[in-house]
C-alpha cells in the first residue's frame, strides 16, 4: 500500500528520532560512523516501520524477517532502531564503544538481540543473506531477507560472487538494497575506484535494478513492495543517498565516514537535524494543502 500522509509523517518523525539518537550515541562514544549511519537511516527506518515482520518480545522468533546490515560499520544507526523496538536497553546506548559494553562499532549478533549477522568485514553480508534466503526455501519458511550494502563495499569481489549466485538461485523473498552515498573512507567512490555504471553492473548480473532517492520514503516504499512482488528475477534497489544527510558540516563530505564530535558540534548537529526535519515535515504539509 502507498503511504498515507499520516504514515509518512510518522515515519519522518521516527527517522528524525533515530538521527538524533545517532548523534547522542556518538557524543557518548566520542566518535562514530556518522556519515554512513545518516545515509542509511531512512531506508532502515522504513524497513522496520513497514516491512520487517518481527516479534518485539522475541528477537529470535524463527519465522522473523531477517535484516543483514552488510555495511556493518553503520551499527550506530542500526542500534538506534533496535533500541526503539526494545531489543536494546536505551540506557545501554550510553556505553557504545566503551570497554565491556555489548555495543560497539560493528554489532555482534551473539550479544545484541535483533542483529541477524555479525558484519563488519565488507563484502560478506550478501552471501550471508543468500544463505539465509536459501534456508527459508529449504526449510519451507516464508520469512523475507533484506540485505543492505554500502556502495564502496561493492568494490569487493565477493559481492559479485554473491550477486552471481543470487541471480542463479533466485531465492524467493530476498531483497538487495545498496546505500549509494557516493563516499568511502579515502574519498568519493568515483575518485577512489569508480563504480559507475553501477546500475548496469547489477543489471548485467541479472538483477531487476531500480534507482530511487534514498531519502524519499514513498519512492522507497514503492520500490521495496515491487521487489517483494517480483519473482522472476531478483531485485536490487540502489538508494541514491547523501552521506551525513541532515547535518550541514557532514553532508556529502567523505571525511565524515568516521569522526569524533565535540559537545558544541553535537549541539550544532542537533539544530541542523531539527531544522532538516522541520523542512521535511513542512514539505509534506505543503504538498497536502496543494
Amino acid at each position: 500500500m502507498p503511504l498515507t500522509k499520516e504514515e509518512l509523517l510518522a515515519i519522518e518523525a521516527k527517522a528524525h528520532e533515530h538521527r538524533r539518537t545517532i548523534i547522542e550515541t556518538t557524543l557518548c562514544a566520542g566518535s562514530g560512523h556518522i556519515g554512513g549511519a545518516l545515509s542509511m537511516i531512512d531506508v532502515t527506518t522504513l524497513l522496520y516501520s513497514r516491512f520487517m515482520r518481527i516479534d518485539p518480545d522475541n528477537a529470535d522468533w524463527e519465522d522473523r524477517d531477517r535484516f543483514i546490515l552488510s555495511k556493518g560499520h553503520a551499527g550506530i544507526g542500526f542500534v538506534a532502531i533496535l533500541a526503539d523496538i526494545g531489543y536494546v536497553d536505551r540506557r545501554d546506548l550510553e556505553t557504545f564503544n566503551l570497554t565491556g559494553s555489548n555495543l560497539g562499532i560493528h554489532l555482534d549478533a551473539s550479544k545484541v538481540p535483533g542483529v541477524d549477522a555479525s558484519t563488519g568485514s565488507l563484502g560478506h553480508g550478501l552471501s550471508i543473506a543468500l544463505g539465509t534466503a536459501l534456508a527459508a526455501k529449504q526449510l519451507g519458511k516464508e520469512y523475507r531477507t533484506f540485505c543492505l550494502l554500502g556502495d564502496g563495499e561493492c568494490q569487493e569481489g565477493s559481492v559479485w560472487e554473491a550477486a552471481m549466485a543470487i541471480s542463479h538461485f533466485n531465492p524467493p523473498n530476498l531483497v538487495t538494497l545498496v546505500d549509494r552515498n557516493h563516499a568511502q573512507i579515502d574519498g568519493m567512490t568515483e575518485d577512489v575506484m569508480p563504480l559507475e555504471p553501477f546500475a548496469d553492473k547489477w543489471r548485467a548480473f541479472g538483477f531487476h535494478t531500480v534507482t530511487v532517492d534514498g531519502h524519499d520514503f514513498e519512492a522507497m516504499n514503492d520500490a521495496i513492495r515491487e521487489a517483494l512482488d517480483r519473482k522472476d528475477v531478483p531485485t536490487c534497489i540502489i538508494l541514491d543517498t547523501c552521506k551525513g544527510k541532515g547535518i550541514g558540516f557532514c553532508e556529502g563530505n567523505y571525511r565524515w565516514h568516521y569522526g569524533g564530535i565535540t559537545q558544541e558540534m553535537g549541539e550544532e548537529a542537533m539544530r541542523d537535524l531539527d531544522a532538516y526535519y522541520e523542512r521535511r515535515v513542512a514539505a509534506i504539509e505543503w504538498r497536502g494543502e496543494e
Binding site: I128, L134, Q138, A162
Partner: protein, 333 residues
C-alpha cells in the same frame, strides 16, 4: 545415527568417497543436512550426494568466499551445511569468511577440506595445504580434526553432525592407507587413540602420518624399541592428558604431520608440554618451514621425512641424545 561402514567398503572407496557415502546415510535421517561445493563436487567426491539429494545440494561455481558466507547464513537459519572444497581454499582463499561468518558467529558449518597437506602432490604448492592446521586452530570456536583414514573420516563426519558448532575436517586426496579395520573403536572428538603401546618414545601423529607412525612402531619393535603411537586426530581441542602421559611415561616425543612444523600438530603438542612445566626430548617432523616440491604424495612424505623410514630414523636420532651428558641439563622433573 547408524552408519554402516566396513573395511571392505573402505578399500574400494577413496577417503572423499567415504565422506560422501557417510553424509548420504546421515542425510537420510537428518533433513537439515545440506551439501555445498564450489566447483569441486567431482574432485571432493560429493557427486553421489547431488544425485541422491538434488534439492539439498548447492553448487556455487568457483567462488569460495561466497560459498562459506552462504553456509554461515544457512547454518544461522537452522540447516547443517557441509562444504566441500580443498583445504588450501578453505584456509587461505576464503579465510575472512571462515573467520568472521563461520567461526565468529559460531555457525554450525562443517568444512570438509580435502587434498590436504601434500596429498595432491603433483599439483604443486598452489594446491598443497601445509599451513591450514596452524591457521585453523587459531580460530576461536572452531574444532579442528585430521582423520587418519577413510574409516575414521566416517566417524568424524558422524561426530561433526552431532556436535553443535563449526568443525574443520581435513582429509586427503585419493585413498588413505588403512589404519582402522572397523568403525567401532570408540571415536570421540578431542580424545587421542593409542594405536601402539610403548615406553621408549611416543610418536604423536595425525592424518597420513598415523599409518606411517604405526608402521614405524612395528619396525622399531623388531629392534627392541617400544614406540607408543597416538593418533591425535583432533588438533583442537587437543588431548592434553594423552600428551602429558606420554611425556611422563616415555620422556621422548616425536610429532608427525603432513604440514609445516610451525603451528600445526607439533606446535600444539609443544605448547602443551611447555605450559605443563614438564619437558622431554622432542622433535617435530613435517615440512621444515618450506614449500614442498612437486611429486607423488608418498615420495613427498619421504622427502619431508614423514614416511616410515623418516620416522624410524628420527626415533633413533632421538634415542641417541643423552641429556645426562649436558652439564646444563638438570633432569629433576
Amino acid at each position: 545415527m547408524g552408519i554402516s561402514f566396513t573395511s571392505i567398503n573402505q578399500t574400494k572407496l577413496s577417503t572423499g568417497e567415504v565422506y560422501c557415502e557417510t553424509l548420504c546415510e546421515l542425510a537420510e535421517e537428518n533433513p537439515r543436512i545440506v551439501a555445498l561445493t564450489a566447483d569441486l563436487g567431482q574432485s571432493s567426491k560429493i557427486g553421489e550426494f547431488m544425485k541422491k539429494f538434488p534439492d539439498r545440494f548447492y553448487q556455487f561455481g568457483i567462488a569460495e568466499q561466497n560459498m562459506y558466507g552462504v553456509a554461515a547464513g544457512m547454518a544461522k537459519a537452522g540447516l547443517i551445511p557441509f562444504t566441500s572444497s580443498f583445504a588450501i581454499f578453505t584456509s587461505c582463499r576464503a579465510l575472512d569468511q571462515v573467520h568472521t561468518d563461520i567461526c565468529y558467529q559460531r555457525a554450525n558449518v562443517k568444512m570438509i577440506s580435502s587434498h590436504a597437506g601434500t596429498s595432491f602432490g603433483q599439483a604443486g604448492t598452489t594446491h598443497h595445504s601445509t599451513e591450514d592446521i596452524a591457521i585453523m586452530r587459531s580460530m576461536a570456536n572452531l574444532v579442528v580434526i585430521v582423520p587418519a583414514d577413510g574409516m575414521e573420516t566416517a566417524n568424524v563426519v558422524r561426530a561433526a553432525v552431532e556436535y553443535e558448532g563449526p568443525v574443520y575436517i581435513r582429509i586427503n586426496r585419493g585413498f588413505d592407507q588403512l589404519v582402522y579395520k572397523e568403525l567401532d573403536y570408540g571415536y570421540e572428538i578431542g580424545k587421542a587413540v593409542q594405536l601402539a603401546e610403548g615406553t621408549d618414545v611416543t610418536i604423536i601423529a595425525c592424518g597420513s602420518g598415523v599409518f606411517q607412525a604405526v608402521q614405524a612402531s612395528a619396525e622399531l619393535d623388531a629392534v627392541g624399541i617400544k614406540a607408543r603411537v597416538l593418533n591425535m586426530h583432533t588438533i583442537k581441542p587437543i588431548d592434553k592428558d594423552a600428551i602429558l602421559k606420554a611425556c611422563r611415561d616415555t620422556r621422548r616425543i616425536i610429532t608427525v604431520e603432513d604440514h609445516n612444523v610451525i603451528g600445526g600438530l607439533g606446535g600444539a603438542v609443544a605448547e602443551v608440554l611447555a605450559e605443563s612445566g614438564m619437558s622431554c626430548a622432542f622433535r617435530r617432523l613435517g615440512l621444515q618451514d618450506c614449500f614442498s616440491p612437486i611429486g607423488y604424495h608418498e615420495d613427498l612424505m619421504a622427502i619431508h621425512g614423514i614416511d616410515t623410514n623418516g620416522i624410524v630414523k628420527s626415533v633413533h636420532d632421538l634415542l641417541q641424545l643423552d641429556f645426562e651428558d649436558d652439564d646444563d641439563w638438570d633432569d629433576e622433573v
